[in-house]
């Protein structure tokens, strides 16, 4: 478990840094894919198997493919399509370091919670998840479930309207 954790943490850090620093945008999408896989492994390590499967299916299977399609449609493969503007780079580094400093300080000032070890969890089955999604009582999520379905319908219609040929 420790070895798996070390690999996953290193993969998240290295590949997310590479995602935002590489010059070729197709490589950026590929590194994003590796980062998303590492996040899925984190979900599996947390014993949320369904969430890890959703992460792989939706992100690695859907979103990254969508990114690659749109990159190939809008840029010439292999070209150094982006020149990073120097004016913005320092603001970006400043914002990132400031965020890391403030959040890191906030983390370290809550030490007692942060060093808790992983407790045992009752097995969360698919049946529990289905009951939670489709019930209205305490711990039920029927309203957000329906809201997401309406949102997806609106998104499909919006994508068709925006992208159709005129």
């Amino acid at each position: 478990m420790e070895i798996l954790y070390a690999i996953v943490a290193l993969a998240i850090i290295i590949f997310s840094v590479l995602t935002v620093t590489t010059r070729k945008i197709l490589r950026s999408a590929t590194y994003l894919l590796f980062t998303l896989f590492a996040a899925a492994i984190v979900y599996f390590m947390m014993d949320y198997e369904f969430l890890g499967a959703v992460q792989i299916a939706v992100y690695a299977g859907g979103i990254v493919v969508l990114f690659v399609f749109s990159i190939l449609l809008t840029t010439h493969p292999g070209s150094n399509s982006e020149k990073l503007a120097n004016r913005h780079v320092w603001w970006g580094i400043l914002a990132a370091v400031a965020t890391a400093a403030v959040t890191g300080w906030a983390l370290l000032s809550r030490c007692a919670d942060l060093f808790s070890s992983k407790p045992e969890m009752a097995d969360y089955t698919m049946q529990d998840l289905g009951n939670a999604m489709l019930s209205t009582g305490h711990g039920g999520y029927l309203l957000p479930f329906e809201a997401v379905s309406v949102l997806l319908l609106a998104c499909i219609i919006g994508a068709v309207v925006v992208a159709r040929k005129r």
Partner: protein, 103 residues
């Protein structure tokens, strides 16, 4: 060695800061969207890990992450539709070129 809660939050913090840096510095709109996905995923990891470590009896964080993934997928699809439509008009996907959205 036992894996503590903090050990998961640090990679996720690095991931979020990378996403923030990329979102502010990239000119290509698709690259900005990729950075946005990094930030969303860092937040999702935080929700799940805090749920698992501090509140193992309830599943709110996990279910919130499920809904966040669904909404992120919808948002990405719509944003890419807009970007490709913009590319048809201006032949560029740089954020500096996107001064008007009218066809």
């Amino acid at each position: 060695m036992e894996i503590k809660l903090l050990y998961y939050l640090v990679p996720s913090l690095v991931m979020f800061c990378c996403g923030l840096y990329g979102f502010l510095t990239r000119k290509n709109m698709i690259a900005m969207l990729i950075s946005l996905e990094l930030m969303l995923n860092a937040v999702d990891i935080n929700f799940t890990v805090v749920n698992r470590y501090l509140f193992p009896g309830s599943q709110e964080g996990m279910i919130f992450t499920l809904f966040a993934i669904a909404i992120a997928a919808a948002e990405t699809a719509l944003a890419i539709a807009i970007i490709i439509n913009l590319y048809r008009v201006t032949k560029k996907v740089d954020i500096d070129e996107a001064k008007q959205l009218k066809g």
